[in-house]
């Protein structure tokens, strides 16, 4: 622990770090994110068959996402606290609007056409749901009582169900996880947790009945990819070949045959990890995952040093949600989880989740500066 702190101290005193701190940016978290996104651009270049246009488009998005992060980092934590319930109410209304009047894209209603821009309210809920729960629980004695647990459960389930019925399974899992983490960090008792887990297991058959056919298909495909070799089974088969054939050292950048010869579908979006693992092998994967672990641990560190419950709970939940992103994506690409459409955070090509993630990091940084302000 001493060592780590010393490293932090060094970076804290560099000129760049000081400049960053002036605009409420945590230099350490920033470094992790920066390295990860830079690596992401490199993989994207390879996954996109050396298309500069793709990298350029992603750069523009990254620029926007970093900008959003900086802007959010300037919002005082107090403000986030005050806005939480209003944002939550607005988010729920928008989700209902999407269900009743949203645009249907690829057979699912996710987008709300605001004439100027189209956006997915479900994406915002990944941030708003933990904000709301942190707001709610921080005002109450911790660990939470049975009553506040029940209300927390409602606050998590309502947006989750609304999003799942769009249907967007990937996002609803992330929203549920974000909400759950707040409750967990607030000190949810282990025996309650165990009870809920058991009840959840019992609920699986019911859930199965409620799932859309295509969602069932994905789970079945996971168990037996060969059963649907033209559909989603093809993704898993090819992705496993890509990862496995990468071996320990990988085939080298731009040399992944699976990815370069077009065997691997969706290789610049959800399946980009397979491209990376094929070209950089186990060694590369260790480095990449370590970067993620670095970011996650730094987030939890910021959380544990926050000055009040709201900041702690929100920051902790954001960090853990980032972990879920990573785990679900790598899990599905490597064939241990069903294909649910969760991108590899900060690396996959695409704008919406990038902006949400960076806004989340902005919040983390705002919480971090709040501590600094108080302790000054």
């Amino acid at each position: 622990m001493m060592n780590k702190t010393q490293v932090f101290e060094v970076s804290y005193n560099s000129r760049l770090a000081r400049a960053l701190r002036v605009i409420n940016i945590d230099p350490i978290l920033f470094l992790g994110i920066f390295l990860l996104t830079a690596a992401g651009l490199g993989i994207l270049y390879s996954a996109g068959d050396g298309s500069i246009a793709l990298v350029r488009a992603q750069l523009v998005r990254l620029g926007l996402a970093f900008f959003v992060m900086v802007v959010v980092a300037q919002i005082p934590q107090r403000q986030l606290y005050l806005w939480a319930p209003w944002f939550f109410a607005l988010g729920i209304i928008l989700l209902i609007l999407v269900l009743t009047s949203g645009d249907v894209g690829k057979g699912a209603q996710r987008w709300l056409d605001l004439y100027v821009i189209k956006f997915q309210p479900s994406e915002m809920m990944k941030l708003i749901t933990p904000m709301m729960l942190a707001w709610y629980l921080s005002e109450r004695p911790l660990p939470p009582t049975a009553k506040s647990l029940l209300i927390s459960a409602v606050l998590v389930i309502v947006p989750t169900v609304l999003i799942a019925s769009q249907p967007d399974l990937g996002t609803s899992i992330l929203v549920a996880a974000a909400g759950f983490f707040v409750v967990f960090l607030a000190g949810l008792r282990w025996r309650v947790l165990l009870g809920v887990a058991l009840a959840g297991l019992a609920f699986i058959p019911v859930l199965w009945q409620l799932m859309h056919d295509y969602q069932k298909q994905r789970v079945l495909t996971l168990l037996d990819p060969e059963s649907d070799p033209l559909g989603s089974g093809y993704h898993i088969i090819q992705s496993k070949i890509a990862i496995g054939s990468g071996g320990i050292y990988g085939k080298g950048w731009l040399n992944g045959t699976q990815s370069q010869l077009d065997f691997l579908p969706e290789r610049h979006t959800d399946f980009i990890f397979a491209v990376f693992a094929e070209e950089f092998g186990m060694m590369g994967a260790i480095v990449l995952l370590s970067l993620y672990v670095f970011i996650i641990l730094r987030s939890l560190y910021i959380a544990s040093r926050a000055q009040d419950s709201f900041g702690r709970l929100l920051a902790g939940s954001l960090g853990l949600t980032f972990f879920v992103y990573l785990f679900v994506n790598v899990g599905m690409v490597s064939g241990i989880l069903p294909v649910v459409g969760v991108p590899l955070p900060l690396v996959s090509y695409g704008g919406t989740s990038m902006v949400t993630l960076m806004a989340g990091f902005g919040m983390l940084m705002s919480i971090n500066s709040n501590r600094r302000l108080l302790s000054r």
Binding site: S138, L230, I243, S245, S304
Partner: protein, 627 residues
């Protein structure tokens, strides 16, 4: 809401959180370690296996597209089939020099710039080992030339594929529709796995509506290929399941009679079997050849079709919305009888115009017959199509009661036919006008509505369906094309069950009263379609109608000679036969056909064929009746 300091003991909260955060961090690290285990299994333990698979990714998965289901008419005559055609294909990764190959091939077969640009587009969307079509529909000479020169072009292949063909040509095109290449938009909505290897999809008509039935289920095979990519052997194979065959209620011969009867007019004929709701004929003229669309129509040709006189692509029976004119009178008359507003033998004195009681402007609502029909009862009013009688009836009933009764016949609503995009027409009411025009309903508009003019709009399909409901005495059956589906998997036949609903009249005899009046239209001394009834071997009932395209000022005369064809009135005719036991209901609507009575012979040709099996050649338009 003010910001409150956090509740509770700070340090205990903080300690609790730190414990939790540590547990969470531990779990994260453990789970990520789990991912490493998984990666290690794939990348180290099973490395040899996957590396081998990757090296030998020459076992290729090939989709086997299903054959599209066939479409038959009610007598088993084929309307849509699949014919073998030969195509020139290239497998990009096997072609040494693409530009040279393209140039060389263009010297042997004709390659348009469009062929080449489409090929290049397709190349970007496909894996490089997949064969991509360069030219479709090679003729015999081209196939022979390519076969001889095959050795010069590695990666070139001639494939035989089944393509959709419509042997009836343009006949029934507005019902059957056509297939065309899958476009980007469709690609987003279809199940891409099931369409792998399929290039075409139903675009319009029944081909589109029953796409899911017709398409079938894709099969696949794993094939081993050599270094050049040629298939060495099939490793395993799951055969495709062909699409289901459709049997339609359409009688293609009757359809052709209807189309021939319309001749070069722009119009529609819809014939329905009232007892079943089966559509027997669905003609829309002018027509076009669906085969043009199967292989991709050229822009110029498409533009030509779009702008051609009469708009052949326009599906008149489904999309065309016309004021029903006097063909609405049997329905309005029935409303009057049923409401007790008039009795069958009550007479109205027709003096050639009608004055709205209490209207100070004394605007004249004119009858089509300037000198008037004299004393007219319901039978006379239908037979001679007296407007003044229906002005009086409508005035007494009011628009809302008329609206409610007509709604029972599905006016202003979709019939539910098995085609996409059906129009609703328009059945006006006080509430509708307030909403749509933000003004009140004027009494004069009720009068006009009583003779089927004004705001009211119907599609030819709606008119035919309403006539069928009339014949059925209130049994409303969803009109439909599909009789049955033959399932390829089980060889079982599924019969289509149309939706059915019914309403009854307080006095069922009013149905027969109205039928009797409508028979007089064709067979009465003064019937507006009496010329059509001459020499008929059966009895037919009907009603003529003329829909004004534009209003004529009160004292203006309507001069057919000087009015351009486009501005002439639409001619309409509804009918059913044989009178004693009707088994066909026909609606004829002709754009700018001027007189409904001129349309009656078209209906007769159709019914003649249906009842007598032959189409007696009777001249159309030679004998004009009065209306």
């Amino acid at each position: 809401m003010a910001y409150r300091a956090p509740v509770g003991d700070y340090s205990s909260d903080s300690r609790l959180f730190k414990r939790r955060a540590n547990v969470a961090a531990l779990i994260c690290v453990l789970m990520i370690a789990g991912l490493f285990v998984r990666l290690a299994k794939l990348q180290i333990v099973e490395y040899a296996h996957f590396s081998n698979l990757s090296e030998n990714n020459r076992v290729r998965l090939m989709a086997l597209p299903p054959n599209r289901g066939l479409i038959y008419d009610r007598n088993g005559v084929i309307l849509a089939e699949n014919r073998p055609t030969f195509h020139l294909e290239l497998i990009p990764e096997q072609v040494d020099d693409l530009e040279a190959t393209l140039k060389g091939l263009s010297e042997i077969v004709s390659l348009s710039a469009r062929d080449v640009s489409e090929f290049r587009n397709a190349m970007r969307a496909h894996r490089s080992f997949e064969s991509i079509s360069l030219r479709t529909r090679l003729d015999d000479v081209e196939v022979a030339r390519l076969a001889v020169n095959r050795h010069r072009f590695p990666g070139m292949d001639i494939s035989a594929r089944l393509t959709r063909h419509y042997p009836q040509g343009e006949s029934a095109v507005h019902a059957v529709g056509y297939v065309g290449r899958i476009n980007e938009k469709e690609l987003e909505t279809i199940d891409q796995g099931n369409y792998r290897g399929t290039s075409h999809i139903g675009k319009t008509g029944l081909e589109k509506f029953y796409e899911d039935e017709l398409h079938g289920t894709v099969g696949h095979q794993n094939v081993e290929v050599n270094a050049e990519g040629r298939v060495l052997k099939v490793v395993n194979k799951v055969p495709p399941i062909p699409g289901n065959d459709l049997f339609l209620s359409l009688d293609i011969e009757l359809q052709k009679v209807a189309e021939a009867a319309l001749a070069d007019r722009h119009g529609s004929v819809v014939a329905i079997e009232p007892q079943t709701g089966e559509v027997l004929a669905f003609a829309s003229t002018p027509m076009y050849d669906p085969n043009l669309f199967v292989h991709g129509i050229s822009y110029a040709k498409y533009k030509e079709l779009q702008t051609a006189e009469g708009k052949p692509l326009f599906n008149r029976p489904l999309f065309g919305q016309y004021p029903p004119g006097s063909t609405l009178k049997p329905f309005v008359g029935l409303a009057g009888l049923e409401a007790g507003t008039v009795s069958g033998d009550e007479e109205v004195n027709c003096k050639g115009h009608y004055l709205l009681p209490g209207d100070e402007t004394r605007r004249k609502y004119r009858d089509w017959k300037k000198e008037g029909h004299g004393h007219t009862d319901m039978d006379d009013a239908i037979e001679q199509s007296c407007d003044v009688y229906f002005y009086e009836l409508a005035y007494r009933m009011g628009i809302d009661r008329i609206h409610d009764f007509l709604a029972k016949f599905n006016f202003g609503q979709k019939t539910g036919i098995d085609l996409y995009g059906e129009r609703r027409g328009l059945l006006p009411s006080r509430a509708w006008k307030k909403k749509a025009h933000k003004t009140i309903w004027y009494p004069g508009e009720t009068l006009i509505a009583g003779i089927g003019q004004g705001y009211m709009l119907t599609t030819p399909l709606q008119l035919a369906a309403a006539t069928a409901t009339l014949v059925n005495k209130g049994v409303k059956i969803q009109p439909h094309f599909l009789k049955s589906i033959r399932l390829t998997e089980t060889a079982a036949t599924e019969i289509f069950e149309p939706e059915e609903s019914r309403f009854s009249l307080r006095y069922p005899r009013h149905w027969d009263d109205m039928f009797r009046a409508m028979k007089k239209v064709v067979h009465g001394t003064w019937g507006t379609a009496r010329a059509t009834g001459w020499g008929m071997k059966y009895k037919m009932a009907g009603k003529t109608g003329t829909a004004q395209v534009f209003g004529i000022a009160q004292d203006e005369e309507y001069d057919e000679e000087t009015v351009a064809r486009k501005l002439r009135d639409h001619g309409l005719f509804i009918s059913f036969a044989p009178y004693e036991a009707p088994n066909i209901a026909v609606a004829v609507v002709v754009d700018n056909g001027e007189h409904g009575s001129w349309m009656a012979p078209i209906a007769r040709k159709v019914i003649d064929y249906h009842l007598l099996g032959i189409n007696k050649k009777i001249s159309i338009g030679g004998q004009a009746d009065d209306e």
